[in-house]
């Protein structure tokens, strides 16, 4: 499986992503945003960071980049797209996923482990987990407070498009488990065709027992098994 990691100026978790993908057997290639070319690419990844410094609004500048036209085209032909942290913010700003990521409820950057509950495991992203599995992942963001209007949230839940929710270690989803205040504890969502996933936490930073665990590895194992698009 060949994955393109799109690098916008200010993106800073691209190497973490490449390590995680390669560790599961995928072949990641870095693509500078001005030279993005997704021919023969199975998965496009927009990694974490602070694209354009997040000086306007997280992800807003990168969402206007010509590279995002290529991402849209890739998605339109049924290609897979993963956006993590700033990548999730960029996907929402680009209109490829609904909703927005607001400032964390406590108005502080939060860097800590959180627990995530897998809401369905019949997707290309989560098939190495079981539905209801809880896994741990580091989060590191100032703007991860997922927001959408009630109709959108109802639709996401109604169409089973919530990918991951912030949970307790035992899988309960009280509001306080969403440290950043995310609506309905939403940590990650899918597009309607289940080909695009955005999430705030960083499973790519928990794929090695030495770093404290391999909770994030099944996500990349699943992606590495992806058949060519």
């Amino acid at each position: 499986m060949k994955a393109a990691i799109v690098v916008f100026p200010g993106i800073n978790r691209e190497r973490d992503m490449a390590i995680a993908l390669a560790g599961s057997g995928a072949t990641p290639v870095m693509q500078w945003h001005k030279q993005a070319d997704f021919t023969d690419i199975d998965l496009v990844v927009i990694p974490g960071g602070f694209s354009y410094g997040d000086y306007l609004r997280c992800g807003a500048m990168a969402a206007q980049s010509p590279a995002m036209d290529a991402v849209r085209a890739h998605a339109a032909r049924g290609g897979y797209v993963l956006g993590v942290c700033n990548g999730f913010q960029i996907l929402t700003e680009a209109g490829l996923l609904p909703g927005a990521l607001l400032r964390n409820a406590g108005l502080r950057f939060l860097s800590m482990d959180c627990h995530l509950r897998v809401e369905r495991n019949d997707t290309a992203f989560t098939r190495s987990y079981q539905t209801g599995d809880v896994f741990r992942a580091p989060m590191a963001h100032g703007d991860g407070n997922y927001f959408a209007d009630d109709a959108t949230l109802d639709r996401l839940e109604g169409e089973n498009l919530v990918a991951l929710r912030y949970a307790t270690a035992s899988g309960a989803i009280p509001p306080e488990a969403a440290f950043n205040g995310a609506a309905r504890n939403i940590a990650g969502i899918y597009s309607a065709n289940l080909r695009i996933m955005g999430l705030m936490p960083h499973p790519e930073d928990l794929v090695d027992p030495l770093m404290g665990g391999t909770d994030g590895k099944p996500l990349f194992d699943a992606l590495a098994m992806m058949e060519a698009a």
């Binding site: 100026p9 200010g10 800073n12 978790r13 190497r15 973490d16 390590i19 995680a20 500078w32 001005k34 974490g48 960071g49 602070f50 354009y52 410094g53 997040d54 000086y55 406590g106 502080r108 950057f109 939060l110 860097s111 800590m112 580091p138 590191a140 100032g142 306080e176 440290f179 960083h202 790519e204 930073d205 794929v207 090695d208 030495l210 770093m211 404290g212």
Partner: protein, 726 residues
Amino acid sequence: MTPDVTQALARQFGLSADEYANVLTILGRTPSYTELGIFSVMWSEHCSYKSSRVWLKTLPTKAPWVIHGPGENAGVVDIGDGLAAIFKMESHNHPSFIEPYSGAATGVGGILRDVFTMGARPIANLNALRFGDPKLAVTKRVVDGVVRGIGGYGNCVGVPTVGGEVNFHPAYNGNPLVNAMTVGIADKTKIFLSAAAGIGNPVVYVGSKTGRDGIHGATMASASFEKDSEEKRPTVQIGDPFTEKLLIEACLELMATDAIIAIQDMGAAGLTSSSVEMAGKGGVGIELDLNAVPQRETAMTAYEMMLSESQERMLMVLRPDRQDMAAAIFAKWDLDFAVIGHLTDTGHIVVRHNGVIEADIPLDPLADQAPLYHRPTEETPKPAKLGPVADPVGIKSALLTLLACPDLASRAWIWDQYDSTIGGQTVKRPGAADAAIVRLDGYTRALALTTDCTPRYCQADPEAGGMQAVAEAWRNITATGALPLAITDNMNFANPEKPRIMGQFAAAIRGMAAACVALDFPVVSGNVSLYNETEGSPILPTPAIGGLGVLEDAAQAVGQAISPGQTLLVIGAAEGWLGQSLWLREITGREDGAPPPVDLAAERRNGDFVRGQILAGAVRACHDVSDGGLLITVSEMALAGDCGVQLSGARDHAGWFGEDQSRYVLAVDDAPAVFSAAIAAGIPVEVIGTTGGRNLTLPDGDTISIADARAMNEKFFPDWMNVTAV
């Protein structure tokens, strides 16, 4: 119109009458306004180390593994596998009081540049912070701003902040200390230095544009604060971590080629110090045309451009035939790239602006005749050893008080705002081990990193305190299993013109040097911050030490977390030293007595034994005994592992809370084996308990649940900042 240059103006710029007289001698005429600015910043305490140089020279700086010691942008040590670690710690104290967010943020940015300037990719940031009395509103404002600033910059550039330390003391009320450390990794055969070479070669400016921010910052950092410090806000620089990130990537991309002859970041005193130092070190002259400098503001004068401390800028000397290729790299990263001058054979720095020569200064005397002071010193009288002190509250009550006090409370509120996992190589995150452990991407090897100083010891006895700071850094690295290699020092002191303060400095250096020699732990880089006083009130002497060690296999690192079924051993001798202890201060309100002495031979022996046991695989967890003493050490291990402890062996308050040095608590599976090994090596050892359950149980049966201990330990910062704990 620029003012006439007079001795009175020179004094305003921070030059003494003698120093100004020497300027007149060197030039043989009255300096221009721009020249006066250049002399004043180059001869400021901050840039010239004029009060500290005579003492810094006495520090040991060599070892077989040291590649570059003090004198370059940062220290460089060989860490094996063909790699070099490049690291340094630097203060941003004065700006951080005036404008905490920007002061701290640009402190991080500045130290990052010192490291990647030498060809290293930064892989870890640490910090050492000292704040005033938490009861003051200003302290809360400063802590909040500094923590946000460190996080705001470090998180955005994408370098994990993996460790640090924080103390509170009223002596820092008007003068907090923000010391930032960066560690980077490079191929040891590809280290970039700053000495310019090649007459006619282009001098290239890259990075952000120059604005009017930070003008005369180095001079501000070389004076004490008076009541008007708020008015100094215009001298604080503003950081742009996004541009720094681009600058890191662009510089590393260029460094992979053979284009760069010399490179230097523009830090304190900006374009002045970078151009003067590059040309001076290379023994060449330099000519600058300021019209070519990328400018953010209109109508800037030569004086303003030469003294601006706008951030995220670098100066390079390039091979002429690689100039176009280099320009293309910076264009890719949307960064300014401008040829602003060339090297000459004149031995002068010549600055032109709008066709006029604004400065023409011979470089040799600017460097060689920089002021050097043997300032008078007055020794701090050795304090008397503390006599017996009764226990007014009992062990359990004292433990809960200490766990909750600002100097021992959990720092999670702080480190939860720093991205510590980015890079995917953080083996031991903040709080998990005595030193942070960061693996090197693609290798099994890891670095152990720590910052340490106990200022209250330094205040009572600067020599013993300086020695203890180095020893504790060595101990914290050792407690993870790593081999300590070298340190960077950040000497924070008050006004050196006062003999008592200069005496503190000299004594601290003596103590540090003795420890460096005994522990094979040389100083490879450092920074001095003087005049840390406000309205005549000095800070505690604070020689902050940043230590670096290496582990051949990251998997061998141990942390503080205990698990059920282990035995706890304490390594090292103790008499119950309460002088200058936190128990004495927090329980009895006293800050007296001599600080605990460090027996360097015992330090070395105990530490080498502990490291040997860890590397042999015999140790499950390890934590040194430091602030708060033995019972705090055990409690921290219990909290880290979320596991109870049954303690054995009766001790009084001095036994539980004394801060006798050179000690470690080890959690082991096979206690008899480790015990006999210690006895065989002549190392003091004692079994002090076993692990398991949900309580911390004292030998007399008194019990504290881990949950209660945690609640006490974790409440200070969230309560203080009025936030809901998460």
